[in-house]
Every structure is written in C-alpha cells, then in structure tokens.
C-alpha cells in the first residue's frame, strides 16, 4: 500500500496474566506495580529520542512520519486505557506521527469487553488482534491458555461491534496429534466468527520454554514433517476457499485492505523503531535491539541512557538475503529489480539454473523480474532461500 510506506513504530508491552508454555517472547506476569514502573521507563525511553523521533545512534533518521503504531506483547490489552493514552500522547509529542497513523493493538480475548473495545476504538486503534489460538477446549488446555472458546467468540463479537477497521485473530496449529480434520474444524470456527484477518502460526518448540524442557525429556514431540506439510497446505487452501486468501506463510486477509500494514514493513526493509524490552529497530541499514529482560531494559534508562542490547550493520549480502528470505515467504514473491544494491539482474543470471528448476518442479513462477513462489514453494521457502547463490554480492578482495 503506497500510502503507508513510512516508518513503523512498535511498542512492546511485556505483561501477561499467565505465561504460555510455548512462548519465548519477552514477557512477565507480575503485579500492577510493574505496569507503573514499565510505563515510567517507556516514557523515559521516548524522552531520550532525539528531536527527529529516532535514537541518537541513527545518523540519518528517516524524514517521513511514522504511519503505523503497533502495541504488541505480551498482552497490551492488560494496560489500563489511561496508560495507553499516556504512551500515545508521549509518542505524538516527541515523534513525527501521521495524524491518520494506523494503530494496532494485540489483545487477550477475555480483555475485549464491549466497553474496553469501544474505548480503544475511540483512542484511534484501527486493528485489534486477538490471541485466540484455538477454538478447541483440549488445544487451549494443551497450550496453557486461560480463556474458553466461548470467551474467544465473545471477544471477537465485541471487537466487531466496536467497529474496528480490521479485526484480526491468531491461531496456532501443528499441535502434536492434531488431525487435519480437527484443524479444519478450528479454521471453520474461526471463519464463522467473522474476522478480517487471520494469522495461523505453526507451533514451534523453543529451547528454555516449558515445551522445550518437555521435549528434552521426551514428553513432547514436534509434529512429523509430512503431517506439518499437510496442515500447512490445508490451511492455505481452506482459507482461500473460505474467502481469506493468504498473502504470506502465516497471514491471511479477507481483502488487501485488511493486510497487516505494520508487518509488511518488516518484510520490505521499511524503517521501524521498537520501544520496550526486546524490541527491534531497523533504519539506514542498521538493526538494533533492546535487552530482553525488563530489568536490563530499565537499568540504563534509570541512568539516562538508551537501553541498547546489540546492533548490527547489515552488509549488502545480509540485506539481499533477508529480502529473499522474507520475500519468498510472501505470495507476491521477490522482485529482483527491487533488490537492495541493484545487483538483481546479476543474481538472476547466476541463479538461472536454480530458478528454472524451481519453475520446472512447480515451486515458483516467473513474472518478468519477479520470482513468485507457488504454495508448494512457500512450504519450502527456507530451502529456496538457501539454494540461491549470492556469490556476486561478496566483494572480491583487491
């Protein structure tokens, strides 16, 4: 969407009432007093930005105004409306934010009462995303979710009633022993609830999470690759038929206007700024991120310094690899003419045989300078990204 091609702002709200056993995000439970401390520090972090609205380390800050603000977590819907209000106020005071910036809020279904939804809507939020995860009791129990299928439906109804532009929902699939039939039922329930956007994430077991430990002990097995593939295909096919075609590996929308403007910035190397613990930022070929732990994030702020954990300068090869890796996860694919560094034509020529092979095996189609994965190609996007030769991007030593 060309009208939203400015930078995006991400604000990480690290609170949850309960930590899900699969989650490896930066989250904590903890009482209300934490929220006050968090808020104070977040405002400090905003205060430390330069007048350009970017941290000092960004030498040439983007001139365009921010046009998306995304509250993610954690559970941003746990924040009191007053807190959300103060954050938005501080942001608008310090940074260039477009008046009609698209505001996103991630929410726990139980928090989405009609009253709360209306309040958020009035604050200017246009997309609300509900962490439903499943409509099946047993799956919710396995995933350690606290809400019931009924609560999820109620939350969605409230969100729709409050009149958000886009009501989105997250689902998780690939739960051990989940049958295609069961997953299809879940998808049907989701479609019936009438959201505009769906994110279907495959269960990934991360080390150092309760699921990770259970896997180490041999109590939990990730789903077999063939079964995963089957569910993946089923998801894309079934949702397309149900009026929610996919536009990325995990994302589906009832129409182009409902696609996630904010996430698309991540995939296209648009600049973005992340605030809060563990938040990542990218601008001017540089990516940097905040400490994951809330205390490690707060400590430098208390000392009047920005909470930087690490940063990396992306070379041309990394930029191109990211563009390919992320582009090949989208239905639109990769336009080689638009790759960073302008070496797209050379890359294409170097990889002619691989591209021909992909087309021959029905994994991709070619549209002028664009390589567009088919559904089969999306399913092995990592293989495709790995198989491309980026040798021409490496500078030969003189």
């Amino acid at each position: 969407m060309s009208e939203f091609d400015g930078p995006g702002l991400y604000i990480h709200v690290p609170f949850c009432t309960h930590i899900c056993p699969y989650c490896d995000f930066s989250v904590l439970t903890g009482d209300r007093s934490w929220q006050t401390r968090y808020l104070r520090h977040l405002l400090l972090e905003i205060e430390l930005l330069t007048d350009s609205g970017w941290p000092e380390q960004v030498r040439e800050p983007p001139s365009e105004a921010f046009d998306t603000i995304y509250f993610g977590g954690g559970t941003p819907s746990m924040l009191q409306p007053g807190h959300l209000e103060s954050i938005l106020e501080a942001v608008r005071a310090k940074m260039h934010v477009r008046k009609d910036a698209w505001l996103f809020l991630e929410a726990n279904p139980e928090d989405v009462t009609l009253k709360a939804a209306t309040t958020w809507r009035q604050m200017g939020f246009r997309t609300i995303s509900l962490g439903v995860q499943s409509f099946a009791e047993d799956n919710l129990a396995f995933l350690g979710r606290q809400h019931s299928p009924r609560a999820a439906r109620r939350g969605l109804d409230n969100a729709l009633a409050a009149g958000f532009d886009t009501v989105a929902m997250d689902l998780i699939y690939g739960i051990p022993d989940q049958s295609p039939r069961a997953w299809q039922n879940d998808l049907d329930e989701a479609l019936a609830a009438g959201p505009h956007h769906l994110s279907c994430y495959q269960l990934t077991v991360h080390p150092r999470t309760p699921f990770g430990f259970r896997q180490l002990r041999g109590e939990l097995m990730e789903m077999d690759n063939d079964d995963q593939a089957e569910l993946f295909m089923l998801t894309h096919r079934h949702l397309a038929v149900g009026g929610m075609p996919g536009y990325e590996i995990s994302n589906f929308a009832a129409g182009p206007q409902h696609r996630s403007l904010h996430n698309q910035k991540y995939w296209s190397h648009s600049p973005y700024l992340g605030l809060g613990p563990s938040a990542h930022s990218f601008a001017g070929g540089r990516r940097w991120w905040n400490p994951r732990k809330i205390k490690a994030w707060m400590a430098p702020l208390d000392a009047g310094r920005p909470p930087l954990d690490s940063a990396e300068e992306l070379g041309l090869e990394s930029l191109v690899l990211e563009s390919l890796m992320l582009g090949l996860r989208t239905y639109a694919g990769v336009d080689f003419d638009n790759l960073p560094g302008g070496l797209g034509p050379t890359l294409w020529r170097d990889n002619r045989a691989t591209i021909d092979e992909l087309v021959k095996r029905g994994l991709a189609t070619v549209d002028r300078s664009r390589l567009r994965p088919t559904l089969g190609g999306l399913a092995i996007a990592d293989t495709v990204a790995r198989s491309l030769d980026l040798g021409c991007l490496r500078k030969e030593p003189p």
């Binding site: 991400y10 063939d226 089957e230 092995i380």
Partner: protein, 608 residues
C-alpha cells in the same frame, strides 16, 4: 646434577624395563624412580613424566617408549647407572616392546595388589622370557584397601611361575618401597655383558625427532664404542652417517664423550627423517664393521588401513604437512595419496593396529587442529587372480572385478581375553559371532579365565572392542598376536545413494557378514542424512545385487510459520548458518550428505 661425561664401567650399569598390565601403575612407578634418583627437580615434576604426549597422559597409556638414565647411589655405597627403558603398554606396539626388551638384561614385573596378574602381564612375561631377561616381581598399590598381597603372591607363583617371596612390595603412588625397588634393580638384575674393545654393534631401539638436530637414535651398545666423529653404518639399510653427538638421556639429553659396551644412550648423526633409519637396525663402524647385525630387525608392517580425508577440502595441504611431520617420529605410519569422489583428496594410511590409528587421528586433531573423516578400517587381503597373479588389497576401491578372482585370504589373529569366569558365555558367543575358530579357555586362578580364539582381524576391527567392553562390563582385557592368512569368502559391499556409489563407504567384508553390515550402514545413513527436496534411496549392494535398502522421503515443508516480528536478524542468522553448513556437505548423486552422516556410519558406537 653432576655431569657424567665419562663412561661408567659395565659392572655399574643396569638396563631394565618395567612390564605391566595397563593401569597397574607402571608410569607412576617410573615417576617415583626418576624422582628418588633426583633426575628431575621436584618443581619440574609432573605425573607420568615419561609419557610426553597429551594422549598418553590422558589415557594413562604409554604409546611411544621413552628411555631415561638414572644415577643411583646404592646402599652399598657404589654409584650405578640405571637405564630405565620404558615400554609401550599396548598390543599394537608389541614390536616396540620387543626391541625395548632386547636392550635390557632384566625387568620389573609389576602386579597390581588388588587386580592380580592380568592378560598383558602374562603376555609380556613370555616375551621377557624369550629374551632371557632376569625378572623381579613387584607388587604395587599395596596401600589400597582392596589390596590382597597374598593372592597377588599366589598368582605370581601359579600364573607366572616366579618366586613370590622375591617380590618387592611398594606403593608407587604413596612412595612406599621405592628404595627397595631400586636396590632390587641393582642387586637382583645382572649387569650387561659386552666388550668395549670388540667391533661396534649397537641396536637402535627407538628414535625421536628433534626439529633442530634431526633424528635422535636411541640405542643400546652391545660391543664396542660410539663416539662423535665416527663414521657409522646402519647394517640393514646400508647407509652411512657421521656421529655428531652421543650422550645419556637423563630426561634431557646430556652429552657424553662416548657410549661404550653395555650403555644405553642417544646418537645424533645428521639424519633428516626417521624414514632414513629403521628401528631394530644395528649400528656398526663403517671402517671395521661387525660381521653380523644384531637380531631384532623386523619391519613394522601396517595391518590396519584407513583413508583419512580433511572435513574441508581446503585443509588438504594442512593434512599433508601434518602427516609429513607426524611421520618424522612415527616410522610405523605409512601414507599415500588417495582420493574419493565423495570426500575429495586424502591419504590411505597404514597403522600397526586400531590404537595406533586412534593415536594418529587424535594427534592430527589436537596437534594440528584438523577435522577429519576416516574411512572404515580395513585389513590387507591377499587375493589370487584367475591369471595366477597374487595381489594384496587393503583398499576397497582397488578391489578387482570379482570374476577375475580365484581365491582370497585374510589375516587371522590369536586373541587372548582375560575375564572373570561369569562372562565366559557371552564372550564365547561374541567370538562365535565374529567368526572365531578354536575358541578355548582355561582357568588362571579361581574365578579368572583366559579365553583364546582365532579371529579374523577384519572382524576385530569392526566394533569388537566395544562389544567386548559391553558384554564384560569393562572387566574383559584383550590382547592379540598376528597368526596367519586363511581362505575367506570376500565380497565388496557398496553403498549407493540414489543409485550412485559413495566410494568412501565401500568395504570388503566376509559374505556372511555382508548383509548385516549393509543394513547397518543404510540405517545409519537414513538416520543422519536430512530429508531433502526429493526422495532418497539408500542401498547396500554386492555388484548389481541389492542386499539392503532404506528410503528417506522428501520433505514437503521447510519454513517456519512463525511470527518473528522485527527480529529478522535471528531468522537470517539461522539461514546463514544453514547455508554455511550446506557448503560443507558432500554431494553424491545430487544428494547433500552432511559430514555427520559419514561420521555416524564410520564411527563405532562407543566413540560417538
């Protein structure tokens, strides 16, 4: 320390070694003897001082023998020159043991007070008797709570036929009885017999390599004298050199004026590599040579062969250099260029046994930092072709067309396994499984059994040690000697990946074992080759006949349908890592085979 430039009189010299089963405390006893003779300052002292290689220290074994000269003032007030000739403690190196024994007049026979007499003790005893050595039994580790001195005495008497009351009691670890051991060396072992005025005859029983001086030969002078400036001839290789320096090995080299009859010491003669000399050769004077060389020259023939490839083909040059350097002081190691379609360039190497192979591999890894893949070890087969021509084959890739083969023979060993009697059943079964013949056993003492079996060496190379360790729960000890070549029904098993043979995995096997081996290889590959974009067929075949197969299905999904948010760095780094890994994979028939798959197939279970 007193410089000792003169030549000690023959009567004051004692040349001796310590023979013991592995782990009975030989190195510790050597340490104590060295310490109590003041050959080394306490602050310089480190355990297992003669075991100079890290691997020796770690595994508690002696691989390369070392010799040390001790100056001892005995209780009778006389000064003695004691040459302690260290012997390797492993069967692979029995040729070294033999040469070491030949340089001695006597030996301390070490017995662990709690373990008693073990397989190697007996084997070495026979060797020692063969060389007519005077023996003094030493019961070590008497301080242990589990020490049973009376039982050890009994075994010394019954299993070894030695006078148990001659035995010296000590604890090398605690430093108890060390003086008694030294006194026994002086008084119970005979001085050497030799004539300094006779024609020079000196046996080279070891060699070291000094980067500055070249080869340092360690020898025992039988008759005559060795002096700097002398023109010497090596009698077997018929090469001549000029002596630059001679001396004693008091941990460091101490230069002396000469080495005369009865002495043990080193000779430096401007020799560039150990390949120029042969251990076991006799040094004589070029001008007036001895009539005959001393006995003991026997070429160390490799019996185990394996191809070594660098993990990364870029490391080939480094591997070449490393092998060249290793070979400078390991005369038994043979190597020649080899290449594999799957693994690139490497070397076909010959070893004295599995431990030797292990040691070389470890040294290449540790001392030269190389990551390697080794092909499955093979023995050398003797093959008679239809034409009547006889050829030796130790590399499966050189195996002739089966239709050209009339018959084949393979090497057999005589295995001697000692163990508590409760394991007889399982060990006999293991020997049977390994095509063992004439398996018999006899009781060494109550509860202890020695089992002997004639086994094909090829079967011993393939997980025999591991299985023996497992079935005897670590209580079985194993020793072997080469026996002879016997007829065999040999086949070449190829492993095919998508129809293409992986040459590095081909092996020569007895027909009876071929199916099991092929199945095992296929299974290991199935477990370790990651699924790829297409189906992979893995087959084991003898010629055109498929004897084992397994399949790796194509994966249909390789993408993480997960939300990364702005953390794209993590995702990219993972991909970069995988791309890097892909580069190191070997490609056979368009199938990417990771190094791990070769390792899994070629490494035995216990090493994994």
């Amino acid at each position: 320390m007193v410089a000792h430039r003169g030549t000690p009189s023959v009567e004051s010299i004692r040349n001796f070694c310590i023979i013991a089963h592995i782990d009975h405390g030989k190195s510790t006893l050597a340490d104590r003897l060295i310490q109590s003779c003041g050959a080394v300052e306490d602050r310089e002292f480190r355990d297992q001082i003669l075991d100079s290689m890290d691997i020796e220290r770690e595994r508690g074994i002696t691989i390369k023998s070392n010799t040390v000269t001790l100056l001892y003032e005995a209780q009778d007030g006389n000064r003695y020159t004691l040459n302690l000739i260290d012997t390797p403690g492993h069967v692979d190196f029995s040729h070294e043991v033999r040469r070491s024994l030949m340089s001695c007049e006597g030996a301390l026979l070490l017995v662990d007070a709690s373990q008693g007499v073990e397989a190697q003790t007996v084997a070495n005893l026979y060797l020692a008797l063969e060389y007519d050595l005077e023996l003094v039994p030493v019961i070590n580790k008497i301080d242990l709570p589990s020490a049973d001195i009376e039982r050890a005495r009994e075994e010394i008497s019954e299993d070894l036929g030695l006078d148990p009351y001659e035995a010296v009691l000590c604890s090398a670890k605690q430093g108890i009885g060390i003086e008694d051991v030294l006194e026994a060396v002086v008084h119970k072992l005979p001085p050497p017999i030799g004539d300094p005025e006779a024609k020079l005859q000196a046996l080279i029983f070891d060699a070291q390599y000094d980067p500055y001086r070249g080869v340092v030969m360690i020898c025992r002078v039988k008759d005559g004298r060795l002096r700097p400036g002398q023109r010497i001839r090596l009698m077997h290789s018929d090469k001549e050199f000029e002596v630059e320096e001679v001396g004693q090995l008091q941990l460091r080299r101490v230069e002396t004026d000469e080495l005369s009859a009865g002495s043990v010491g080193y000779v430096i003669a401007g020799i560039k590599t150990v390949r120029d000399i042969a251990i076991g050769d006799t040094i004589t004077e070029a001008r007036s040579p001895a009539e005959e060389p001393l006995p003991g020259y026997k070429e160390a023939k490799p019996v185990v062969f394996s191809s070594i490839y660098p993990m990364s083909t870029d490391d080939y040059e480094d591997l070449t250099t490393a092998l060249d350097k290793l070979a400078l002081n390991d005369a038994a190691l043979t190597y020649e260029k080899d290449s594999s379609v799957a693994l690139g360039f490497g070397f076909r190497c010959g070893f004295l046994g599995l431990l030797h192979l292990d040691v070389v591999q470890e040294r290449l890894k540790r001392e030269y930092g190389l990551s390697l893949i080794l092909s499955a070890p093979s023995v050398r087969y003797e093959i008679t072709l239809q034409s009547g021509e006889q050829i030796a084959v130790d590399n499966p890739t050189l195996y002739p067309d089966p239709s050209q083969i009339q018959s084949a023979t393979e090497p057999y060993i005589k295995a001697s396994i000692m163990m508590p009697e409760r394991y007889i059943g399982v060990v006999m079964e293991l020997c049977r499984e390994k095509r063992g013949l004439n398996t018999t056993f006899n009781y060494l003492s109550v509860g202890r059994v020695e089992l002997t079996s004639e086994l094909p060496l090829a079967e011993v190379l393939f997980d025999f040690y591991d299985k023996l360790k497992t079935v005897t729960q670590g209580y079985g000890s194993f020793d072997y000697e080469m026996l002879d070549y016997r007829p065999t029904d040999l086949v070449k098993v190829d492993i095919l990946v998508n129809g293409e043979p992986v040459d590095a995995l081909s092996q020569l096997v007895h027909r009876d074992m071929s199916r099991a081996r092929a199945v095992r290889y296929c299974e290991r590959l199935e477990e370790t080759i990651p699924r790829q974009q297409f189906k992979i067929a893995i087959q084991g075949a003898i010629g055109g006949q498929i004897i084992a197969r397994s399949t790796i299905n194509a994966y249909r999904k390789d993408v993480t349908a997960k939300c990364y948010g702005g953390d794209i760095t993590r995702k990219r780094k993972l991909l970069e890592k995988q791309r890097e890994g892909k580069k190191r994979m070997k490609v056979v028939g368009a199938v990417e085979i990771p190094q791990a798959a070769f390792m899994a197939v070629l490494t035995s279970d216990s090493q994994k």
